[in-house]
Every structure is written in structure tokens, then in C-alpha cells.
Symmetry: C2
Subunit: 419 residues, 2 copies
């Protein structure tokens, strides 16, 4: 495979995670030391930064700050939610991209994100091929949702899972402090796949977790939910912890979070009708049904940016995925995403291999939890899930501390001037 | 002072913190090695456990598990919210306590808690004196609210402050990821004193915190709040982070969280009227006033039980406060609470001394943030607060990890049989 000499651009896309910047550090540091890549550009807010010719010269950054990216949450270059049109219907954006790629001699395109981002990556790759413009396009996966197809797991999931399991264990102890009934509903992110909510099962595995877990993979039935909760509530004399995914739906496909609007109408039974998401909705239902104090706890943004409680395994894998993307591209690969393949080392311990899968395979395919990893009752996870998830949360990663607080990366972000 | 030989009982009371168990470890381990204390009892659910003669023999616990208490959140012995009656009106409980103290020859009473707990401690102490029963009563402070009088700061505050500041910095980065407007309202615990909400100023001090901070010490005015927010929103092109205490009140003394019920009526302007606490209320107001996405984040229980992100300074001081309580009592002190006195070492660095203050001085007096530590505008903290708070969050404490998750103390809790 002939060596391709030119410049590279890297972009971050989709929701933040604790480790997307670790992948950025992997791509950028590897690209900067690769002979055939001259300039390494970082796109401001992903694909939009490329379309608007707003990108940074990464060679201007202090190497120490690039190293700090490994423990800095969110997307340091800025992210974006921008869906490219179907090129056959509207090629405007694609023509602009091609123009920018030519203008800056961009021959390497690395894009870091989830499902939609891999779709973007795929469309750009196919368009450049069709246009006969030689450019190597490699996707780097990322999502706390862990729902990307064709990879064993996703960068970002391990750290989010570690945080969710840890916080759940802490809440478990807090919620048991009084000798009075206490019902907690933990609301976890995950619209269509329950991987992150399932991470609360790791706390349950330690004996310090939720009694019941509700995932989007299982159709939600309010009557069964109430019956399930009553059973546990009576058995544990008033102690009940429920973990629920924001994305649970009923048999009609309606999000349970939408029930809030109905419940709000029943002013009397719900006091001030101060309802939030699905956690608030279910806490209100339990308050009424069990006639007890019920508290909803939403992990909210904390679960996807808690770099102070990240998985060292996740951070290291995310960084390596970034490095591999560059190495694979330089070796000639294109139109692919870096994927994780689970294997075992000589001692039978967990090991992660880095392989390539076609972008068209990954784009827009969601991976859900296999039914056999969910218990028959649909309210918990089996040992198979625990065995799957445990290796991903091993090792502690946290930012270096300054004044007792995390020291996150500070980038100069020197904008590239058009030549 | 004559040596007093007998048994000791220790109880935990009030809301959990990350370090109340560290104080427990201090009291218990110190008491177990003190010659004049024979048995060391741990009360189940504080004062109620004593009234019901439900307490544990702490000498039966594995020393390693007692050590683990230093990094285990919540109250391992169980807590309680139980207000003793005025002994002159109703001496029932006090007579029962005296009976139990005599029956088990309890000569040392250590009680760990906040304002109400120190009131309990004070009442018990005075009653025992009046009854002529020799018993040394020492209170050990604890509260994330940091509102105890006569102590520089409270065990539990440093860790909660460190968590709140850290999580706020992480949210700051997450909330800036897109190039679209983003308004976040962070709701922090603290009903009457704003110490914990003020901890978000530590994140602001790092340049990664809230733009505006609203404390219970300052009367809340909705019109000014909206004007403040609009100004920042326009200046920062759509980026705004507000930190607010759950306890803010308007000029009529009404909790802003109660506005939810009114707002819920304005269905149209608030869509599904899914409102929660004060954070949700203010996010809804900003959504309407700024016509943008506004998200409320409630730190909820996480802020008081995040042992995985505790301050090593706080943990060490809490443990030492427990040890000192026993040492002072053995030396003859009674009717007092252990307090922190801030001083500096030979090199001018922060140092904490442990002193005694009379229980009657502490009981039910709340310490609020001095007005001069709050900026003129009432929307932020001055350097004086930063200088006060920074030393309290230094050093990282976290539980030992097992399988990538915290290993918290597991007590046997061997109930004491009446002789």
C-alpha cells in the first residue's frame, strides 16, 4: 500500500464522555509523530468546524496539556449534533467538505463519536471515494450508551458504568441510614439500550445495589412494576431501591417519562405535581401506592462526565483506540471504524484487541442487551452480564489534583488561517 | 480529676456524611484501648437504640472493618431523627436513659451529629448531672451543612464541598460541549446556611464553575435573578451555569421551591409542568425567560455520601475528633463538644486544633456565612471564603477498591444481651 502524504483532521461528535478526550489524545499524539502526516488539525465542534473552516493547529499545543486530555471529561474541541443530508438529495455539505479537504490537503479524516457520528463518517467516506479524492477515513467509537454494533464494548462505557455502580453503592448506604421506610428511584441515561442502567447490577452483585432494575429492552408494565415494588417493600420492611432507564416504554411504545403530564393532572394525589423525568414519575407512583417517602435521583450529566471516578481500563483503551486509528490509516486502511475485540491473555485474563470493521456495518445499527443476560422476570441482570461488565471498570483513573481539585487540560486552540 | 471506670456508648444521629463513620472509628478504636473503659457499645440508630436497649458490642468487630469505617459513607450504626422532649414537661425518655445507663454501667456517652444531636447531647448531659449520675458526655460534630456554632468548620463539610466543587467543574465542561445555548441550574443541599452551595465558588475560582450563586443568607428576588441571568446569558452567548441552595427564600420568607405549585398551573408555558425542587423551578423560569434549553441538576444524596471523592483532610480530622472526644472524657471533661480551631503551623500552613466548647453554647445555634464573605451583589463569594474553604478539601481519600468498586466496612453488629 503506497504511503499517503498529507494533512489530517480530527473531530469529536455526539454526547460527551469521560474518555472521548483520551481518544483525542491518542489520535493527536500519534498523528503528530507520524512521518507522512504533516499538519494535524482539530475540528471545532466536529463536522461543523470543517464545513466552516474552523479548526485548530494541534502542533501548537503544549504536550503536557495533550497528556492531560486523557483525564479531562467532555469534548475539548467541542462537539456537535449535525446530521448530514443524503448526498443524492442534497450534496451541498459534501461538496463543501471536498473543497475544504482539497484546500487544506486533508488526506486523513478521523471522527470520534457514536451511532450518528459513524453514519456521518460513513457518508463522508463514501462520498470521497465516489469523488475520486484519496482520503483515509477512520471512525473512533465513543458512547456511554455502549450501543455500537460490531464492537465488544464502547470507549466511555466502562467509566460511566464505574461511576453509576459506585454512586449506586453509596446511595444504597445512605438510603439505609434511618430505621424508617425509604424508597429510591435511580434514573440512569440510555434511551434505547439499557447497558448503563444495567451497570447498577454491579452494585447489586456486591450486595449494595438496587432491588429491581428496569431496562428499555423490556416492555414496561406499570401494574407489574407496582406489584414488584410492593413485594420487595414488604420483604425488606420499607427499604426499596429501583434503578430505571430514562428510555423505558410501555406496550404502546410510549415513554413512561411522558406519564408525567397525566400524573400532573392528579394534583391531589401528587401534591404539588412537581414531576421531572421517569424517575420522578415512578417515585410519585410509589409514594402513592406504598404511602411512603419516595425519592428520585437522576444521575444526569454527572454520569457521563465524572472523570474523577473513571475506569483506568476504559481510559487506556480509549487512548489506544485513537492511536490505532492513526496507525491503521497510515498502513492504508480506510472506510472503517476501530472496534474492540474481547479475548484473553496467556493467563486467561481479559484482554482487548483492536480490529477494523466496515463503517457501513456500524452506521445506525444499535446493539442492545441480549435477552438471555436479563433475568426471566425482566427486573435484573444475570451473571453473564456481570462477567461482561466487570473487566471494563477495573483500575482507577482520575485527573491530577491542584489545590484539592482536578486539573483539566487547557488547550490554546490556535485557529488555522487559510493559506 | 479522679479516673472514672465503666462502659461507654456511642451513637450516630442526623443526616449521613462521608466521614461520620470516620469519627465512629476514632471514638471506638480509642475507647477500646483506654484502660478505664471496659465495654464499648455502639447504639443502633442513635438515641433510639439506647432507649430500646438495642446496641452492639464493638469489641466483637474485626479491627480491619473498623479501619474501613474511615472510608465508608453514611452511618454504619444507623442514624435517627428523634427530638427529646423538654425534661421538665416529659421526663419519660430521660428516666429510661438513666435506667439503661445504670443497668449497663454506662459512664461515657459520645454522640455524633449536627445541631439537633448536640441539643440531645446537651439535654442528656444536664439531666444526668441533675440526677447526680456521674457520666461524661461529649459531643462529636458532624454536618455537611457546616452550620454548627463555635467550631471553625464541621466534619463532613470538607468532603461534601470537595465533591460539589469537583462535580461542578465536570458539569462546567460538559455544559460547554455544543456551540448552542446551554443553561444549567445546580441545586445544592443547605436549608438555612449556604456553606455547601458556596463550595461551587471553588470551581468558579478555578475558572470552571457557576456564573451566579444564590445562597439562603440572601433574600431571593425573582426579578433580579432573571435580570442577573439575562446579563450573563447574553455576555457568554448562551452559556450560563447557576448554583442555588435548596433553601433560598423570598422577602416573605417563602421557599422558592414552593413556587413549583404555582408554575405547575401555567401548563402552556411549562409544557408538561414536570417540576421538581428549586432547581427545576428556576430552570423552568429561565427556559421561559431566555427561550432556551435549561437543565436542572440536583446533587441530591450523592453530595453527602460520595466517599469516593472525599477530602483526606476532612477524613483525618473527623477521625481525630472522635479520638479526642474519648481522650478529653477520660481526662475528666464532660458536657462539651469537640470543636475545630483553625491555626497555622510553624511554616504558616493551615493547622487544626481540637478544643472543647460547652454543649449549651452549641445546641441549636446556626452558623451562617458572614455577609462580608458574599459579594455585594449577593451572587458570589469573596476571596475570604475561598481562603477559608480551600484548606478543608485538600488531599484525596477514597475507599480501597475490590473488583473496581469500593470496599466499604461490613460490621457484624453483635447485639448486647442484658446481663
Amino acid at each position: 500500500m503506497a504511503q499517503l502524504v498529507g494533512n489530517a483532521i480530527f473531530g469529536q461528535s455526539g454526547g460527551p464522555t469521560s474518555v472521548i478526550n483520551a481518544s483525542a489524545a491518542g489520535v493527536i499524539t500519534e498523528a503528530l509523530k507520524t512521518g507522512c502526516i504533516n499538519k494535524v488539525y482539530g475540528a471545532a465542534h466536529g463536522i461543523r468546524g470543517i464545513l466552516e473552516e474552523k479548526f485548530y493547529d494541534m502542533s501548537m499545543e503544549d504536550p503536557r496539556e495533550l497528556e492531560l486530555l486523557k483525564t479531562t471529561p467532555s469534548s475539548a474541541l467541542g462537539s456537535v449534533r449535525y446530521k448530514l443530508a443524503d448526498p443524492d438529495k442534497d450534496p451541498t455539505d459534501y461538496n463543501k467538505l471536498l473543497e475544504v479537504f482539497k484546500k487544506y490537503n486533508i488526506r486523513y479524516f478521523f471522527y470520534n463519536g457514536g451511532n450518528d457520528s459513524m453514519d456521518t463518517c460513513n457518508k463522508v467516506s463514501k462520498f470521497m471515494q465516489k469523488a475520486g479524492y484519496e482520503c483515509r477515513v477512520i471512525g473512533v467509537p465513543k458512547t456511554i450508551d455502549n450501543d455500537l454494533y460490531a464492537t465488544d464494548h464502547c470507549p466511555g462505557y466502562g467509566s460511566a458504568a464505574k461511576y453509576v455502580a459506585t454512586a449506586t453503592m453509596e446511595v444504597y448506604h445512605d438510603a439505609r441510614v434511618y430505621d424508617t421506610p425509604m424508597v429510591c428511584v435511580l434514573e440512569v441515561m440510555g434511551r434505547n439500550a439499557g447497558w448503563l442502567t444495567a451497570a447498577t447490577a454491579l452494585a447489586a452483585y456486591k450486595g449494595e445495589g438496587p432491588d429491581l432494575i428496569y431496562l428499555p429492552e423490556i416492555v414496561f408494565d406499570m401494574d407489574k412494576f407496582i406489584a414488584d415494588c410492593k413485594k420487595v417493600y414488604e420483604k425488606n420492611n420499607g427499604k426499596l431501591i429501583v434503578a430505571v432507564s430514562e428510555g423505558i416504554r410501555d406496550k404502546d411504545g410510549r415513554y413512561v417519562s411522558e406519564y408525567g403530564s397525566d400524573l400532573a393532572k392528579e394534583k391531589d394525589s401528587f401534591g404539588h405535581a412537581q414531576l421531572g423525568g421517569v424517575g420522578q414519575v415512578l417515585a410519585s407512583v410509589l409514594k402513592k401506592e406504598l404511602k411512603c417517602k419516595a425519592r428520585a435521583i437522576e444521575f444526569s450529566l454527572l454520569q457521563r462526565c465524572a472523570a474523577h471516578c473513571a475506569s483506568a481500563t476504559d481510559v487506556e483503551e480509549a487512548f489506544t483506540a485513537g492511536q490505532k486509528a492513526v496507525q491503521f490509516a497510515v498502513e492504508g486502511a480506510t472506510d472503517c471504524m476501530v472496534a474492540y475485540e474481547r479475548t484473553t491473555d496467556a493467563n486467561g485474563n481479559y484482554k482487548c484487541n483492536y480490529v477494523l470493521v466496515n463503517l457501513s456495518e456500524v452506521a445506525n445499527t444499535e446493539k442492545k442487551i441480549p435477552r438471555e443476560w436479563i433475568n426471566e422476570d425482566g427486573t435484573g441482570l444475570t451473571q453473564a452480564f456481570i462477567d461482561y461488565a466487570l473487566p471494563l471498570i477495573q483500575g482507577d483513573s482520575r485527573p491530577p489534583m491542584e489545590d484539592g481539585l482536578p486539573r483539566f487540560a487547557k488547550l490554546k486552540k490556535v485557529l488555522v488561517k487559510a493559506e
